[in-house]
Amino acid sequence: MLTYIARRILYSIPVLFVSTFLSFMFVSLAGDPRQNLLANPKLSHAHYKALFHTYHLDVSIPVRYWYWLQDVFEHKLGSSLLTSQPIWPDITRAMGHTLQVIGIAEIIAITLGVAVGIFSAVKQYSIFDYLFTTVSFLGYAMPTFWLALLLQILFTDIYLSYNVRIFYTSGLNSGVTSNTWSLDRLQHIALPVATLAIISFAVYSRYMRASMLDVISTDYIRTARAKGLPERLVIMRHVFRNALIPVVTVAALNIGGLLGGAIITETIFSLDGMGYYFIQKLGQLDVYAVMAYLAITSLFIIIFNLIADVVYGYLDPRIRYD
């Protein structure tokens, strides 16, 4: 298993280089960063030349990629072309916020999704099952922005009508100071967490239910029952573990993607996270900031794919890595 993980990590390195190279090409071709500098009337022609040279904007894009790579390793992802500020502090701060929101949302979604999936399958066609089937399909069907806006409107209305502040509808903290684990922070992130959790929950509970039903009707579950095993143990010991296998993939890939930032949710709730960061920098065409974001998200996707494969091997002994 350890050799497998080591080998997978080694494989990931070229993948990371290829993916960042391609994104670098596309981002650079999407717009010329020199235009931003040229638009500044205060700079003389000689200034431009000097700046272009310092930022390596006078060389071809593949060569620029090479300079960018050096920057990434020497100066922690380099600094922004537009503001000359280092990227690292900004992006790690945004990452922290995203981790908190996505982390809480996914823990809630997985716990509830798996529990509801199990119950729905065990009590198939019961009122409980129908109720949660309806809830899940609503969650599936609702566009993120719409759900987020509904929650925002609801809690704004509550505040306006009753003058009680249950949840804030924008930002991360009321004051200037940022406090990661405070009631104030939780009141701020509750709605984005709810938005993301509802949507992920819908996906997980449906997958879990379908997967449980698949396993429940297999021959080996009949065998387990024929042993005289109590139904509770049949479900928890025999069905659950087998049913979890497909759900693990869905969850791991979903989390890997979400850590790149829930762009819509973060934008609507003005949440200083990865997605929000990306959208802002993309709008300004801040090439190196966008590249830093893309490199980090590619890394997350690769890591969570690896996690999914490792958990797979743990759950299913038929999968052996050597």
Partner: protein, 340 residues
């Protein structure tokens, strides 16, 4: 006459489907004596598996439903037991070996664990080492080589025959008094079939369990069974001891089954199938369910109108045919093969 171990009376099992109600088992009665091997033969959909799954409460309800009937086992009606009592019987007093060993073991749990679980369920106070020792002993009994290592392997590391041996070991783990084997060899290669049947025989001598052997293979019946029930369209059409049935069958369907078997000692150009197809269990043919395919029923109204009762046609020999007497002189092609 000794007390029967299991006594089934008027068992009716139905399944609700979108097309209508499937009458899978339609009023069957039979006894199983202690220590005997009873074969149940019939084609797919004749109700042979369902009748035994019902005993263990393993019919998914819904869509299945046990409409009526009793199944007296050691003085208690298995069909009237509460869920918890039923579980106490399952795997302890009555155990089952299923058809497809490739899918009947949980792929993510070790074989030894799955066997041990069968014991632990009924003897929760048993120590783990004792259970492990018993598991290894069971695996050795059913002929799994290196049982010590094998117990720690997963099902996918076992071949089909080995898995079926493990299934048999699991079934006999608590020395049940009734073992139900539902087509235990159907999914296996012919050479492996013979080995598994040998294991079944060993196990029977070891545990003295009565066995219900469900199969569509008359060869296996001849090899293994003391008595036979022939089922057709959810009903028993003929019952008797294995010699009588093979020598002088008294139901046209049984005769059809015998005739459709090739005989190894003679040159046979063609197989002789039973014409037609098995009956729909939703809209059963009126009268005798077999009449559309029967060589005796041609032009006879009675076969279309009256459902034939299972009646005695000889010593311990029963057949459900209005015109069974016409078959008295029929000599099966296996007549010489059967010892007198």
């Amino acid at each position: 006459m000794p007390e029967p171990l299991l006594s089934i009376r008027d068992l009716v099992v139905e399944f609700k489907t979108d097309d209508g109600i499937v009458h899978a088992v339609d009023g069957i009665s039979y006894d199983v004596m202690p220590g005997e091997t009873l074969g149940i033969v019939g084609e797919s959909g004749s109700g042979k598996s369902v009748s035994t799954l019902a005993l263990l409460g393993l019919i998914p309800q819904p869509p299945g439903r046990i409409v009526s009937g009793t199944a007296m086992f050691k003085g208690r009606d298995l069909l009237k037991l509460k869920k918890k009592e039923q579980r106490a019987f399952r795997g302890k007093e009555v155990a089952m070996v299923f058809q497809d060993p490739m899918t009947s073991l949980n792929p993510v749990l070790k074989v030894g664990y799955q066997l041990g679980e069968a014991i632990k369920t009924h003897f929760p106070d048993e120590k783990d080492e004792a259970i492990r020792a018993r598991v290894i002993e069971l695996l050795r009994l059913v002929g799994v080589p290196n049982p010590d290592t094998r117990a720690d392997q997963y099902p996918h590391e076992f071949s089909g025959g080995m898995r079926q041996r493990a299934m048999i070991a699991m079934a006999i783990a608590n020395s049940p008094s009734l073992l139900i084997a539902d087509e235990p060899t159907t999914a296996l290669d012919v050479t492996i079939q013979a080995q598994v049947l040998e294991v079944m025989k060993t196990v029977q001598t070891e545990t003295h369990a009565a066995t219900i052997l469900i199969t569509h293979d008359l060869g296996i019946v001849a090899e293994m069974c003391d008595r036979v029930l022939v089922m057709y369209g959810g009903k028993i059409v003929e019952a008797g001891d294995v010699y009588t049935i093979f020598k002088a069958p008294r139901h046209p369907y049984t005769i059809g089954l015998m005739n459709s078997l090739p005989k190894l000692t003679e040159d046979e150009e063609w197989l002789e199938p039973i014409p037609g197809a098995p009956p729909s269990l939703i809209n059963r043919p009126p009268g005798c369910a077999f009449h559309p395919r029967c060589f005796l029923s041609q032009g006879r109204d009675r076969c279309r109108a009256d459902v034939p009762e299972l009646r005695m046609v000889g010593d311990g020999h029963y057949a459900a045919c209005h015109f069974s007497e016409e078959l008295v002189d029929f000599k099966s092609k296996f007549a010489e093969a059967v010892p007198a």
